[in-house]
Structures are given as C-alpha cells and as structure tokens.
Symmetry: C2
Subunit: 343 residues, 2 copies
DNA sequence: TTGAAAGCGGTACCAC
DNA sequence: GTGGTACCGCTTTCAA
C-alpha cells in the first residue's frame, strides 16, 4: 500500500538507485535491457515519483498561486476557469486562495505561499488593498524573484505583467451605440468608483459624450457603494424618477438588474423607451427579463492569458525583468434591453 | 534576494544547523540566550522555513486537493468558499482542479495529485463518472491511504466520508408548502434525472404527493437534459401550455427562470395564479423578477463541513477507517414567486 | 547545551 | 553501463 520509491525498485531489481533514476528518465547511459526491466517493474507497481522530493531538488514546484477577491463573483470564476485550463494543459497545479477583499488575508496568503509552495502568482487586488494603497507585499515578492501577473484590478505602480480589459473604449463604444439608437439622456451608474477599473469606465463615458457633443449632466451620474447591494433599488428609484433618463450604463450586473426593475416599476417599457447596458458577462444578464445587453468581458480569456504570461516567464531560461500589459477587448453583446428609442 | 535557510543562519551565527533548527522550534535543549539570538536574527532577516523540505520530511503537505465539476456553477463556488475558509483557518492550502464533468480529467487529476502533492481530497463527482459508473480511481486512492470526502454528487458504493443535502425532505416539504397554498397541480421539472441527487428530489416529490393523497400525474413531470439549457424555454412551452399546472418545482435555477418566463408569456401571473420554486440558492433566484422562492442548499456550510471532516481525519493519530455521512438541511426560502393561489 | 549525521525521495556528477 | 555519493532544507536521534 505504501508508495513505491526508487529505492524499493533498486532493491528489488538488484541495481543501484542511480541506475533506476536514470532508467526512468530514459538516460542514454543505461542499456535498453535494464531500462526495459526497470520501466516494466515501475509500471506494474504503479510507481509515481514523489513531487515533493522533485521540488526540493529542482526548486520548482510547477504550481501557481492564485488570489481571487471573491469566488462568488461570476467574472472571477470565469477567470479562474481560464487559468485552470491553461495551467493543467501545461502541467501546472493551482493553489488558490480567496482574499475576501481583505488586505490582511492577501498579505498573509502571499507570505504563506512564498515559501516554496508556488513558482509564481496570478492575482487581482482586494478592495481593501486598493483603498489602503499598500502594495509592499507585492514589491517584496517580486524582489524575491517570484513573478506576479495581475489581472483586472491591477496596481499601476507595481512593475509586473498585467492583463486588463479595455474598459475605457468599452464605455466609449457603448455610449456611441446608445446615441445611435436615439438616446440623448444616457445615465451612468457605478458601483466601483474607487477602483481604477471604475474610473476607466467613467472616463470612457465622458469621452463618449464629448465625442458626440452631448453635454455632460452630472445629475445623470450615480455612484453607489457595492456593500449597499441590498439597497440598490431604493437608491436607484429617486435617481430614475427625478431625472430625465432614457438609458443607463452600469458598471456591473447587479445594479443593472436593479435599474431594470426600478425603470419597469416607474412605468417605463424596456427596451421600447428605456435601455439598459451593463458591464460584465455574468449569468444574470442572460437570465434577466428582458435579457440584458452587456459589455462583455471575456473572463476566461483573461485568465488564460494571465496563465500563459506567467508560465512563459517561469519557463524562460534567463528570466527577463521586462514586463508587459495585455489588454483584452470587450464586446458589446446586444440582447433585449436595448433598441432604437420608439419616440 | 535568495531565500534564507537554516544553514545561512547557522553560518552567520557560528552555531550548528541543528542548534538553529531546535532554537526555532523552541526546544528545551537550547539555552534561552542562544534561542534569543537565533530568533532575533531569523526575524530580522525574515526567515521562512521551506515548506517543501518540511513536507518531504514529515510526509504531510498540509494541502487539500479539491475537484469541482464546474466552477461557473454558483453552488460549487459556494462550496469552494466554505472549504477555503476552514482550510485557511486551519493552516491548510488548497490545490484545486476543475473536472469540467470529464471522467478522464478527474482520473488524471487524482493521479497527478496523489504523489505527495496533497494529504486528502474533497470532491464532487463529474457527470461522466456517474454515467460510466467507474469509481476505480477513488478506490485506489483510498487504498493508498489518502482520505476522500465527497459532497453533493457522491458515490454510493465508495466507503468514504460524505456530505449531502436532504434533497428528499426538501422536495417533500416544498410539495406540502405548495399544497397548503392551494396548489393541486404541482409539476416537477428535473435537469438532473440521471444523478442520485435528482432521483432523491424526484422521490421526495412523489412522497409529498402521496402523503397528501394527491394523485400522481406523469404528464406533470418533465426531464430535460442539462446540455439543452439553451432550449429550456422551447421545451417548457408546450409542457406548461398543454397541461393544467398551477405551480412548478424545478431541480435547478436556470430551468426555474425559464419556467417563469414561459408561464408569464403564456398569460399566467406569478405568483397570483402560478408559483415557482427552485432548488439551489444561487444569484439568479435573488435577482429574478419576481424573486424566486427556493429550496436553499447552503453550499458554504457543505464546504466547511467537508473541510472539517477531512482535516479531522488527517490530524487524528490513528486514522480510523470509520466513515460517516453528514446531511445538511435545506431551507425553504420564501421570496416572491409563491403565494396562496388567488381564487 | 550543542553538534554530527542520517534520512525524507529524488537528481546528477564523477568513478569505475 | 552501472554504481557511489553529495546535495536540496529541514528534523531528530545520539554523542560529546
């Protein structure tokens, strides 16, 4: 029952340990006959090299550490799926942690895994980390020679590989799309104004309006705290009822669903006289009624890209310190919540 | 730059390796003064023991392997969160794989991780594995002394710890609840008739009817293939329109959402003259319009329970082979899609 | 109170 | 072609 070791094989076959090792690694030094004999015995007894010993020797673990702020978020789950796919293709294992948006947990995790448990990290910043603006733990990690790839919520000033979405262009395009449909009173609802991502989306909104010479109206911009998710509807009600609005762009699905509900309750018809577009490509959009038009984010591709970048870096002979940022394009996926304004 | 080792400390302080090791482990053999000196130096230079070396020595990795069929499924994400929470509390790391419902990937993962990468597994069966009815890989694993905890989709005949939900009672209660609201024509829609879980839910439906002396009508039972998720609505339309139905119980959220849509389209009002109840406690239920009444599954608790069971087993002195099955109760969470039948 | 050395399971260099 | 052995970083027994 006990795991078979190279030593056991050596004893059983009356050869030396090194012979067994070499035979199993198909070394040219060993004769075909002994190789065959050893391989046969190994296979029959289901020999599996002990990865821990290998790691200790090679100083490589072939595992990637992943830190995700919130696994219940569909976007992150998609990214995770993308990472997992590439990693397992390339023979890497994944150790994953959920930071739960906690800075402390993030720091702890990094420390805990930087001790030979992993070869590199893929992560997205915890909310708290962004608010505290404290990135020391990343700097230390990189200094220690452990590469990091950040995705989506990235730290501007940390020099590491990054994968982000083209949020800015995403909103610009959305604004233009709505404008073409006849919308002039386009509102913008953000649940992530404190994040860079949120800022980029907001700036895209402004740029879109500007390009179209639509005057900016600050009353049509609403920032909500994500923690208030239970109050989305009550916060949105006065916003939608007291302003002249014919369409809303939101930075996330939940608030979009809430906006749809409020608009319907306020007597609007969707999409006849009120349109809703939301960032993110979660399940809610596909299951809402009517189905939601979204700025879709391609989480899986982001994850896969991040994994490829990291593994490339890990397997390069001389580890270059050059870092790059890849931008994954969003797509405007038109569903049922937008259409030309019936006027 | 390089990681500090016990040897470096020994050299620097002119003591032996074993002294350093003992000092850092607070052994009684070492004098307070040397201990102090060593600890100080270690702390200042941020010494961290190499976990790989520790694992090799102790034959424990303090990591748990998790195999999840589908990470985009909210229920599994919840379970994952629950596992992660307990694991990190108890100092365990998590290596996770997504089987994508593939038997091959599941087998491969088990093999790949059974080589000293992990101390035990927590997993839920892949669809394919259930269909093939092939559980050899689990048996081997257990024989090799690696404990497994299965949750939700478990293998009846494998002797290991398990965590499941009381699906049977869940449906019984739901049927009774609907009956009390005045419903006599309760339909049952399953997207998992081939799974044990699905069977238990179906049997609960039958039992509920029987207890209430409501005659069973086979026309009110619909089995859909999960892969047909894009066709849910078109499959449900004739079912709902050609039968006398005043309420539906579904085994999952997606089909419940589809059922709601079809019912609305067919002229029913929800919940005035048509009720919908769904298993699972995902986001869809909370965001649908109207919000859905659910048989809520407590994924996080299941995950946490599984993690506790596994860690207990791992840390017990003499590993008992006794196995247990824990049943996590479901809750009927009443939202807006059910209420007394008007009339 | 401290240190030498074996061993965990491999790899790889060097002798033979 | 095969075998001896040092080493990866740490723990632990035993001797000093």
């Amino acid at each position: 029952m006990k795991k078979l070791t190279i030593k056991d094989i050596a004893n059983h076959l009356n050869v030396s340990i090194s012979t067994v090792s070499k035979a199993l690694n198909d070394s040219y030094e060993i004769s075909e006959t002994t190789k065959e004999k050893i391989r046969k015995y190994a296979k029959e007894n289901n020999y599996q090299p002990n990865v821990t010993a290998l790691s200790l020797k090679s100083k490589k673990t072939k595992t990637i550490g992943i830190i995700i702020p919130n696994m219940l978020n569909y976007f992150f789950a998609q990214v995770f799926k993308g990472i997992e796919k590439i990693a397992s293709q390339k023979g890497y294992k994944i150790i994953s942690c959920i930071s739960n948006e906690s800075h402390e947990k993030e720091v702890e995790t990094i420390r805990m895994l930087s001790n030979g448990s992993i070869d590199g990290f893929i992560l997205s910043l915890a909310d708290e980390t962004i608010i505290k603006n404290d990135f020391k733990h990343f700097e230390e990690t990189i200094e220690n020679g452990i590469p990091i790839v950040m995705f989506d919520r990235v730290a501007q000033n940390i020099d590491c590989d990054k994968v982000i979405t083209n949020d800015f262009e995403g909103t610009v395009n959305t604004v233009k799309h709505l404008y073409r449909l006849g919308h002039k009173n386009i509102a913008f609802v953000s649940t992530m104004s404190h994040l860079k991502v949120g800022e980029r989306r907001y700036l895209g909104y402004l740029k879109g309006l500007e390009d179209l010479h639509v005057p900016f109206n600050k009353n049509l911009v609403l920032n909500i705290e994500e923690e208030d998710y239970k109050k989305y509807e009550s916060i949105l009600t006065p916003f939608i009822e007291n302003n002249t609005i014919d369409s809303v762009i939101t930075t996330d699905e939940s608030s979009a669903v809430a906006a749809m509900k409020v608009a319907l309750k306020s007597g609007y018809k969707i999409p006849e006289d009120f349109s809703v577009v939301s960032f993110s490509n979660g399940i809610l959009a596909r299951h809402s009624n009517p189905k939601m038009t979204t700025v879709s984010q391609h989480g899986e591709i982001m994850g896969a890209t991040a994994a490829e970048m990291l593994i490339n870096k890990l397997e390069k002979k001389q580890p270059s310190t050059k870092t790059q940022t890849k931008i994954i394009k969003t797509d405007l996926v038109i569903r049922e919540s937008t259409r030309p304004l019936s006027k």
